[in-house]
Structures are given as structure tokens and as C-alpha cells.
Symmetry: C2
Amino acid sequence: MAKRPPAVQRREESLSRESIIEASIDLLDRNGEHGLTFRALSERLSTGPGAIYWHIANKTDLLTAACDTVVARTISGIAVTTPEETIRAVALSLFDVIDEHPWVGSALTSIEGLSPIVRILERVGQQIRALGVADEDQWAAAGALMAYILGVSMQNAANRQLARTRGLNRSDFLAAVSAAWSQLNAKEYPFTRSLAGRMRHHDDREDFVAGIDLILRGIHSPPPRSRQQQKRVPRTR
Amino acid sequence: MAKRPPAVQRREESLSRESIIEASIDLLDRNGEHGLTFRALSERLSTGPGAIYWHIANKTDLLTAACDTVVARTISGIAVTTPEETIRAVALSLFDVIDEHPWVGSALTSIEGLSPIVRILERVGQQIRALGVADEDQWAAAGALMAYILGVSMQNAANRQLARTRGLNRSDFLAAVSAAWSQLNAKEYPFTRSLAGRMRHHDDREDFVAGIDLILRGIHSPPPRSRQQQKRVPRTR
DNA sequence: ACCTGAACACCGTTCAAGT
DNA sequence: ACCTGAACACCGTTCAAGT
């Protein structure tokens, strides 16, 4: 019996960092964070696991690059209108990206190449300037907005991941959280319990924008610089 | 040759969920997130990996429980003074917990038992009420503060993790980020570049509190309900 | 009821060897 | 310069078997 060549088709295009990242995004979208493995990736690209390491440093690098590619694609497509509208648009874009690609949340905070965060910071910051915020207040304003956007995004990503794992759709998931909240101890958790009803029916995107608007109001109202010159925060590190 | 019993000392106390979680926290503090493995844990507890599964569902459960234990311990020790001061204290406590236990960040968003988040939400929410915020505005106010606190915490945790991995102390780390920012393209990243100097010398805790204060100002300034009754957010999901 | 530890089905990463 | 794929050193989790 003559030894036949294996039935795998050989890839015609050569490997590249871009093609590897593109395949990674697809794998992540299809099967979630667990779906991205060097074996699955190399099979999809008809190569060996080692080949990938010629183009990519390690798995963290790969995940960050995938995240950055997806974020960059969305952020770059946002039209600049009024500062406030643009900030809302940037924030909502990120929200929607994570809604479509829940795995983006986990790589977002990475500052290896400091890419995804810096892209968002820059967009937000330019609008802070356009808003006429004083130079010395821009850092605080941009920081607060960034942290808020990041916080909502992380929470949203976690929710989506969990819902996916449990095979729940949005309303089933909200119902489950709402039910858990309403069963909390009434003495210890009065506030959270009072939010249970609202949790079930709220609209994440609307609430997200409401938070942005709240922070924008804070940015517009002048800080009470009189109080004691500089607030001293006691250190307990 | 008589078969001697193996030289491992047998544990005298029986296993329990609590002792497993305590050992996990210690392992995480000592060696970071990679340090927590069922093998390392079972060796430390003088048992087999399988024994742990009698008390703990899986690794996610274990990580969440460790996170919740650490958060609960800190949160519970906060004295209630004025609403604003208490909110600042809760926020700073979480900040400091993550500074000491950077791994807390990764398990924080988990809502499996919905524990760590709910603890913080409740504390913050009670102070929102004490602040006299109208019932219908409490959700937005608490949500904005929570997202902000979470966002800063996640970012801080990521920074600490990265600094630890690279063996950098705080000022070396800030210098590295600052240097990276000042080398960004001047046309594309004017805002981020302008922040490079400030990045090098800023105090995270002070900035953190400044952001809290900014959001509190937003909470105090009334939302312009007039505008168009309810803001309609176009969906592009 | 609780524990043991071998075994299973995976991982990321390396590296000698090929083209 | 770039690719191959076996091998290494790990993982989390399961489960028959023990006490």
C-alpha cells in the first residue's frame, strides 16, 4: 500500500499576524474565551502550533491584539458631532462591541501595548477639551468618564459571559438576578432588594447613557476648590 | 524491608470550605493568580485534589469565594459617618484591597453568588438614600458610582498585575507608561500625549476620590428632565 | 460522609528538524 | 526566514476505591 499524503488541505496564503488575529476573533466569537486555543487556531490555519509563535509572542499578546483590532474598528467609525453626543457615541459603541463580542471585556484593561484603552481615552479626551474644560480639570474629567465606561463594560461583559454559559437570554438572566436580589435578607440588604424590580425591566443602554450624562453634569459643575485647597487622603496601604 | 508509611504529615483538622478558601487566599497573595492550582492547594492542605471538590464546586467558585471573603472582611469594617465620607471610605477600601490583593480584580465582576458586587452596591446605595436622592434617581446614582468604582478597581488591578509580572515598582511602572504615552503620534494622540507628564507623578488614591466627588456633584445637580421626557437611544445591536 | 490519588482530556510553550 | 509537529510541563476535573 502506497503511503498517501494526508488529506489536509494546505493553506495557500502564507501566515501573517493579521490573518492569525482575524482567525482568533472568529474563534472567540464562535466559542467564547475557551474557544481560543493554539491547537484550534493552528488547525483552522492548517499549520502547527509552533508556527503561530513566529508571529505572536504569547496568548496574552494574541488576546490583546484581537481585542484592539475589534475596538479600533468600531471606534474609528464614529462621526464627531457635538462633544456630548460624541462622548455618548463612543461610550455606546464600546458597549455594543462588548455586547457582540463578550470576550473583549477581559482583554480591555490590558496595557501591554496600551492600545484599546488609549484609543478610547484619546477620543473621550478630545471631546473633554472641546467642551471647554479647564486644562487642570481635564485629567479628572477624562479619568472619571474612562473609569465609568470601563466599569459598565466589564460588568456587561461578565453578565453576557455568564448568561451565555448558562444558556440564558437577556430577560431570563435579568429575571434570575432580580429573583436573587429579592430574596436577600431584608435587614442587611434593603437597598439592593428595593432595586430588584427595576433590575428586571431596565434597559442597559439607556441607563448607561444616563450615567454618562450624570458624569457630564458633574464635569460642568465647578469643583469647590475653596474647601481646603487640596483634599488630603489618609494612606493606609 | 518493611513498608514504612510515607513521611507526609497528616492534617489533624478536617477539611472545610473555610480552610480551603483561607489557604487559597494565601496562595493567591503569595504567588498571584497563577499560584492558585488544585495541586498546590491540595499539597498545602495535605490532601488529594479530589478532596477539594467535595467542598468546592470548581475553580471559579473557589476564586469568587476567595474574592468575596476578602472584600467582605474589608467592607464590614467601615464606620458610617456622613454619606459622602462613607462613600469615599467604601471606595477607598476597595481600592486598597485590590492594591494588597491584585487578584481580587479578576473575580470581582463575577455574579455567581452575586456576592462581592452586591456588598458594595448595598453600602453605596444606603448612603445614596441618606443623601436624600429621590427614589427614581437612586438607581442611576448608585449605578454610576458602582461602575466608576469598578472601573478604577479593574484598571488598578490590571496595572498592579502587570507591574508585578514585569518586576516594576509603582514609579518605574508609571514612568514606563508615561514614556510610552509621550512617544505616541502627535497628530493622532494629542490628548493622551498631553497627559504623559501628569501620569508620571499622579496619586491614584487622590484622583480616585476626585472622581467620586465629581460624580457626587453630578448626583446633586438635577437632571434636565425637561429636555424631551425620555432620551431615546437608537439601537444598533 | 468524607477522603484518596491515579487517570483523563486537555492546555501553552519550546525546539530540533526541516524547507 | 519561516514552518512543522513531537515533546514537555503543566492544568482542572472525574471517579473507582477506600475509611
